[in-house]
Amino acid sequence: MDFSFTDEQQMLRDGVGKFLEKSYDFDARQKLVNADAPWSADAWQQFAEFGLLALPFSEEQGGLGGSISDCVAFAELFGKHLVIEPYLGSVMLAGSALAQSGHAAAEEWVEKIVSGEAVVAFAFEEGHGTASPELLAMTAQGSGDSACLTGEKRLVHAGADADAIVVLARKGEGGPPAFYLVEAGADGIDARAYTTIDGRSAANITFNDVAATELEASEEAVEKIIADAIIVQSAEAVGAMGALVAMTGEYAHTRKQFGVPIATFQAVAHRLADMKIAYTKARATLIYTTALAESGAATPRDIAILKGQVGKLGRAVGEAAIQTHGGVGMTDELSVSHYHKRLLACDTTFGDHAYHFRKVGMG
């Protein structure tokens, strides 16, 4: 048993890491966030060239047959660089939903996602941090190619910019969750676009009798797609936590007050220690849960533990980083506050730590 990244994964990390160091430093990232375009088309093209957009798809579908640990390997770096591109929504969620359906129209979209030609949004959240497909309220009428959607979805990443949207809704009143494919700009869609606190383009979308194509999906398939997305998002969060620990340690070492580095004060030192403990716990759980998922052995409890831990510990690390940095930690200019906001966003989506801990506790 070996939990380390394989040589290929390490090479992928090195390659993606080098690119991000060079082209996606914090200043470049802030320019992207504040630009008119919702994300960087150049970076997206670069991800395509690295094979990241093809990674989770099977070779028959033009993909690379990658595994969840391959995705975790580079997603930590996405977190370290606060990447705003809609990888999770378009590739992990919408892409996987399309790929598993076997539907002809869906196959075409997968090809376009893999090549970087199209971005497909994934509409899941319904306003309270929708933690599980069980909690969905939105219900589709009709079925097959003549399904019809009415209702609201929130926090749809790239929702107003995508070429298509995959919506998770119930198959008829009280039915199981299923995926529905909707063309961008279809009649009855009303998208209200915004930028999230962590710099991503998103939209709240109301669907009013919108024509949709139902995509086949078993309940297990829906669960697995959400679980994989939670793992990859957790990897991003852990990457962000690692960056904060390193940055805060360095700051405490150089920042002087009362004539000495603040790291020499035990109250500050112990906060640094707690940050490292939190980060290490979260990373251990991320890596172990990834290995479980890769073996097909991750249970809903395992996923809830990961989501809860990363959410709680990520918040704690972000808060401690700001406190240690003092006034500058409060500014928009320094990356610390942006990491904190990314970690808050990660905790809040797919159900926050309070929800997941209670799920664990219910047994």
Binding site: M1, T6, L64, I277, R358
Partner: protein, 420 residues
Amino acid sequence: MKGIDPDQSTMAGTTGREMKIEFAPELEAFRAEVAEFFATAPTPAIREAGRKTTSVFAPFKECMEWHRILYEKGWVAPHWPVEYGGTGWSVEQRFIFAEEYRKADLPPLLPQSLGMVGPLLIDIGTQEQKDRYLPGILNGDDFWAQGYSEPSSGSDLASLSCRAESDGDDYIINGPKIWTTYAHHANRMFMLVRTSTEGKKQQGITFLLLDRTDYPGMEIRPIVGLDGFPEQCEVFFEDVRVPQSGRVGEENDGWSVAKHLLKHERGGGNAASPTLMRYCERARAAAEKTPSPFGGMVADDAVFQREIGELEADIASLGHFEKLAISGHEIARDPAFPSMNKTINSELVQRASVLMTQVSGVDGLARQLETLRVGSNVEPLGSEFDLVSMPLCLNSRATTIYAGSNEVQRDLIARTVSGS
């Protein structure tokens, strides 16, 4: 996935090992073998001692009986190198062994011999010391006490002043030691002594192995703890003459020997998370039967569910950390690993045992020392859960104090973050 060529930024067609957890069918046979042994080998007294363990340190007599049974089976030291009596098990087998151990509610083996001085001697003992001491550590004939702390040297261990003066082939020891766990049961002791007062305080310390604990001039006094049990001891040395052949490492270089041992003490050969998860299982089972003031049972209460869920998630993270470490993952090569492991583990013991007492409520307030004695025929006042929850909670206040207080651990961890 297929391999990626970083220069080309394209995928090349190679495959490698994957990050996976697989339990092959032969491992299930191993699990059955372990479970069968745990179901049949322990005596009733050993089982009772397991259920009545309210500390890291299980009841001594039964614990050592169990130690000898495991030795006969060849399973007493799974974490030791196989040439010294380890099992040579795979990582998966060690996980399985720990899981089954937990399920069987058996007393944990005492850490001082198997977990501390044994691995130390394997690493840096002389051949003579290995030959003399390792067999007794392994077969359970010997039990070692750890003579470190002194009345004036707790967290600041390097300030210790128990003196050893060289006299021919011997040292003559004078001074006190305290918080020496189970010294009253020990027949051997490893200890730190001051051999020089020159230079930095760390530079004049020597690490000694004591062949006996009944040398003339040596006196051991048990200290009754807040839970009512004599677990800790004071040890007094008055002109105690011991041979210099018991020295590990060079004279005045004992601090580096002690630091080496700390890796084993804090790093832990034995995973703690299975035991902690077992505490939670017990708390859950008790909560199923305990009415909540808000109606229903405590187990149905939202606050209880949230609390135990958060605790179990934290224990799971410790377990992941331990499993990564056993597998040799880079996370365990971090210089802060032993301190992080100790800090996480010790604070979780406290949280778990506090939660247990919350479930027990007033049924945990009776002082039942006689009932807790292995072999006692006094019935517990409440359930067996209520009998152990409070002593465990009280005793576990020690976990954040011993083996380097958690304040000291956090100082060490922080240094690896800030470099200060």
